[in-house]
Amino acid sequence: MNWVIENLGFIASLLTDHIVFSLVPVVIGLVIAVPLGWLANRAGFGRAVVVNLAGLLYTIPSLALFVFLPAILGTGILDPVNVIVALSVYTVALLVRTVADALEAVPPLVVDAATAMGFKPFRRFVAAELPISVPVILAGVRVAAVSSISLVTVGSVIGFGGLGQMFTDGFQRSITAEVVAGIVLVVVLALVVDGILLLIGRLLTPWDRAARAVAQGATA
């Protein structure tokens, strides 16, 4: 406990790093996954290809990715961009399928009615399909965010692990308090971020809760 109090500044900077390294990739990954998911959902046969290719990305071991990315991107081996890119790749891997599934679950009647009212495809996507997909996509984003927060720690092998530095540092210098504090902070950060995303979801989708309340009333 003393160790924690004496190193608050160090911990705070690691925490900031951790938040940036874990959440920026989630945002980037989401921005990439939405059009890919849309494409996958539109292209009958292509769907399997896109979704499975994206899924394959997730099977690449993170350590390997951290090591190979500098070669591919031309970045230095000790560049935080490697971590951001690697985790963005994982987010894309997780979210492409989610987005495709979410779009597929939009009631066809709603899409049909929107088309018949005179929406062109892009505007219809923005006005109807995407917002209706938010509850499912957001569930995926929560998984991706928590997974990203945990994966950042692996980055500590190349020196950019955020709170993960506390594991390596604590092990090397046999400071148990540091390791424990690191684990606790990662878990707490994951819980807080998950809670915030849940809250954002509720604010974005008051209609979804209204529908759930009705459905519960009907079955009760």
Partner: protein, 375 residues
């Protein structure tokens, strides 16, 4: 006016959904496309706003070939109502209705004002404006669907089995509402249904399609009932068509007979049946011959009422057949008892009307039919 000229729809797999369709949908009227599943009625409807593109022939709306216009723009000018409404689940009722005005570039305030106005038009309470579709009943959602289709005041309204997913009682209310609305708005409505009764009730003209996308008959509903073009239409129109056809014959000139009338507290009739009325001369029920005074307990519920001013021969006959005394109760527009009507009078009236013009259905009334009941 919507005109189909030699319109064919052949799907890539070779199925012919609509085969060489020639048909003119008149402006300001309700035209119903009806037929069994796979007859091409929905395909025909969806070709009008290019949700499905024809593979042959031309369709024109108000004289303009639909293929010459941008599909999305064409659609914004044509109202569309579908089964289960297809509302946006993530938008409030008000914003759902405002959809097309917003697409047309109205500002938000204007669009919402228009939407609020339409909620009133279709009979939705103002407090529903902020609710989401899932919080409404099926019938209410369907009203929203109609309001949404009307929002930009399009001259043409396409309705694809709009009432088939609601229960029969709600369906009947929605049908009556549609007729009331149409009386005010006079839109060119194309309505698809598989329910011949709905077609006959709503249609100014009815197009009966047969499997394979062929038009079997296109006529006014009264004609459809009295003179089906062939065996297919005959069997599709279904049972009791003779009786149902009476709904399209005016009862003008039917003789109204005497009817003994008593009030609660009066002496019981000494002979036969009498109708018990309230202070306004509205019927409460029947009493049969008896002793003592008329009490509410002794009332026998009556049958349907026949509105002598507006009713059809069907309403007159049903009043007679459903009455415990064998004589139907004829009332005026305010529901006050005028006299009685007998089944034999109706049959005589039918014979007269046949003799007069030989064309049943030429002198039609809107099938108001059996509504109020006595007692």
């Amino acid at each position: 006016m919507i005109e189909f000229r030699g319109v064919t729809k052949r799907f890539p797999d070779g199925t012919v959904a609509v085969d060489d369709l020639d048909l003119v949908v008149e402006s300001g009227r309700i035209t119903v496309f009806v037929g069994p599943s796979g007859c091409g009625k929905t395909t025909s409807l969806r070709m009008i706003n290019r949700m499905i593109e024809p593979t042959g022939g031309t369709i024109s709306v108000e004289g303009k070939d639909i293929m010459s216009r941008d599909a999305a723009e064409l659609r914004r000018g044509i109202g569309y109502v579908i089964q289960q409404a297809g509302l946006f689940p993530h938008r409030t009722i008000l914003d759902n209705i405002a959809t097309v005005p917003l697409l047309l570039g109205w500002n938000k305030k204007q669009a919402r004002e228009r939407a609020a106005e339409l909620m009133d038009t279709v009979g939705l309470a103002a407090e529903m404006a902020k609710r989401y579709p899932a919080q409404l009943s099926g019938g209410q959602q369907q009203r929203v669907g109609v309001a949404r289709a009307l929002a930009a005041d399009p001259p043409v309204l396409l309705m694809d089995e709009p009432f088939s997913a609601v229960d029969p009682i709600v369906r009947e209310t929605l049908q009556d509402e549609l007729l009331r609305l149409q009386g005010e708005l006079g839109k060119t409505i194309v309505f698809v249904t598989h329910d011949i009764d709905e077609a006959i009730k709503l249609g100014d003209k009815v197009a009966v399609f047969r499997t394979g996308g062929k038009l079997a008959q296109y006529d006014e509903p009264g004609v459809l009932l009295s003179r089906p073009a062939d065996d297919f239409v005959d069997s599709f129109v279904g049972r009791d068509r003779g009786y149902r056809g009476l709904g399209f014959l005016s009862s003008d000139g039917l003789p109204i007979g005497d009817l003994p009338v008593v009030a609660v507290g009066d002496r019981m009739p000494t002979d036969g049946w009498a109708v018990v009325v309230d202070g306004e001369r509205r019927p409460l029920g029947w009493v049969a011959r008896g002793t003592g005074t008329v009490s509410e307990d002794a009332l026998v519920p009556g049958g349907s009422l026949y509105d002598a001013g507006a009713g059809s021969l069907r309403a007159a006959l049903d009043a007679a057949l459903s009455s415990p005394s064998g004589r139907g109760v004829a009332v005026d527009g305010d529901g006050r008892v005028l006299g009685s009507i007998g089944a034999d009078d109706v049959l005589r009236g039918l014979a007269d009307s046949r003799e007069a013009d030989g064309v049943p259905g030429a002198d039609t009334v809107r099938g108001a039919d059996v509504t109020d009941r006595v007692g």
